[in-house]
Symmetry: C2
Subunit: 343 residues, 2 copies
Amino acid sequence: MAVTIKDVAKRAGVSPSTVSRVLSNHPRISRETTRKVKAIMEEMGYHSNMMARSLVSNKTYTLGMILPRPAEELFQNHFFAENIRGITTQASRNGYDILMTTGHSEQEELAAVTRLVKGKRVDGIILLQSRRNDPIIAFLKHEEFPFILIGHYAQDEEILCVDNDNVQAAYDATQHLIAQGHERIGFVSGPPNLTVSVDRLDGYLRAMHDHGLPMQPEWIVEGEFLQESGYRAMSFFMNLPERPTALVVIDDLVTFGVLRGLTELGFRVPDDLSLVSFNNISLTELSTPPLSSVDIGIYQLGYMASQLLIRQIQGDKPQQNRTIVPHRLIVRESSLNLSSKRS
Amino acid sequence: MAVTIKDVAKRAGVSPSTVSRVLSNHPRISRETTRKVKAIMEEMGYHSNMMARSLVSNKTYTLGMILPRPAEELFQNHFFAENIRGITTQASRNGYDILMTTGHSEQEELAAVTRLVKGKRVDGIILLQSRRNDPIIAFLKHEEFPFILIGHYAQDEEILCVDNDNVQAAYDATQHLIAQGHERIGFVSGPPNLTVSVDRLDGYLRAMHDHGLPMQPEWIVEGEFLQESGYRAMSFFMNLPERPTALVVIDDLVTFGVLRGLTELGFRVPDDLSLVSFNNISLTELSTPPLSSVDIGIYQLGYMASQLLIRQIQGDKPQQNRTIVPHRLIVRESSLNLSSKRS
DNA sequence: TCCGATTGTGCAAACGTTTTAACAAACGAA
DNA sequence: TTCGTTTGTTAAAACGTTTGCACAATCGGA
């Protein structure tokens, strides 16, 4: 039905091989033949059948990824959307498309990945998250299939990944609060089994230590990446006999929970409690007051992941396994202290 | 390298055709053979090569879509993420994956779609938006290639689409404000060339008319789907000699702009101005005050689109071209009037 | 003039499936 | 017993490419 390489060949009076070689810019094809064949391809509206091409060349020019499950709140809408934009944009630029699939459980996800890999549907895989002992990572590593992780995998430093320096990011956030004159600073963390929670807590602790500030164990609260966690943390902190004057919060969404609680109780931000958090989603600047947040370069995380994975597919060994995307603290009203406001 | 159908056949002592038929549950294959072949496939870790399968069967079990360009703010992060979740989930359930590609201009997007269609990479296409005279729609229609539109295309009622009843949604929102005792109600619209803007304005006008309320042309303001538009609309309305007491706003993000402006000027919501908007993104309930918003079922829009497209691919002719996803007004504090609050 | 290298092209096999047509065997009814 | 039907299987062609090998023609230097 559709125009094939043979049709073009016949019309051009050459063999199919020649047409194929024109397509792939083979050096031995003459200027003249190239011109003629290309003209005829144009004229006949030829587009090569990707399935046939993939079958023989064993390349699909497709990167796979699994859609994060709703349960995995680490990846909220904003993160996911920005991230995938980065991934897709860079992939496109290199002639790759993104294949997305999903599973309703860890087991189904593994089955989906297996299907993509063994069924030769993709050339590489981008993983948006990893749990501890991730069977998908184990599988991909065992198959020696190209893949990259956004985030990093504490259990295995050998795998390719793109991540932030979360220790430093939290250090910066904490130091900023200290510079604003705060000494009593609390930390609202995420699930303790996630590297990101561990790293950010670490950065907070280091900053406190480096500036000789007292650390109280009760000023560190764990939670989920949900606003409810923020709400709970807030009420815990505000009921302490000695309240902190500022909080470093693991995620913007959690901070919204803190903020809502504070507003309900009649406390004011930053006057009664200053806040800094992470991710800098677009709504941080819309809230009242606007939230200070560490921009972790979500788009760039995706962009780099695409780029590095494609390089690896094409046989480029990277110097180091882990690539760091720079972060940037965006200071807004939620962490500006009174004196600097009054000045 | 990988295990092929031939390897399985040889090991099972049958022909490749038989193995293929076992794979596709051909009725003529005996119980015994099926059992044996399946066991061997399991044992050898066989997975069929999708490229080869697609090449001959002309089916890819893949749906294509183009990533909305950042410029097209109609599709914000929240919408996009929720929508794609619906699309992918339902696709997966039917054994389809999603292929995502992108282009930096309308022309590139058309080229990308052409590549997917002519290169036989996908079985159908989901379009997340359409401009007027969309060349992509024209192309797909001309090729008679299965596709579905999320939203609808006023120029052509023949194409398959999933949409809300935006007229009724706006009617409901307006009527709610009227029920709260408002008579002076303004409308903040989106770009006038989008169907969604036209429809929602229409619903607003009808509700006002049906309740015998005065309509003032200056109470209708056009803008973009950006918070800046909300900010501008707000300052316009609040500087009128006769201010409205409530606004219907085309989109939540725009409403955040209105809200920020009001807060800056010291106005209070809903006391000085009540607000209702559309889309019900997750942050509407986190803002202060929480925003009333019409939930348009973003996930379900995607879910239905997937489902209907797959049906069409499989040869099921739908009764009607346009499928309506129900909406639901979620009333929150931003539109509850004083009397009902005090009661 | 001859010959080795270079340039341009074609033949045919291969990639891993699906599917049509054919056929053998078993079955059941006359 | 015979013959039409059903059941189970296979051989082989086809899908649209890529690519190793072969070969002819041209070229450039001795």
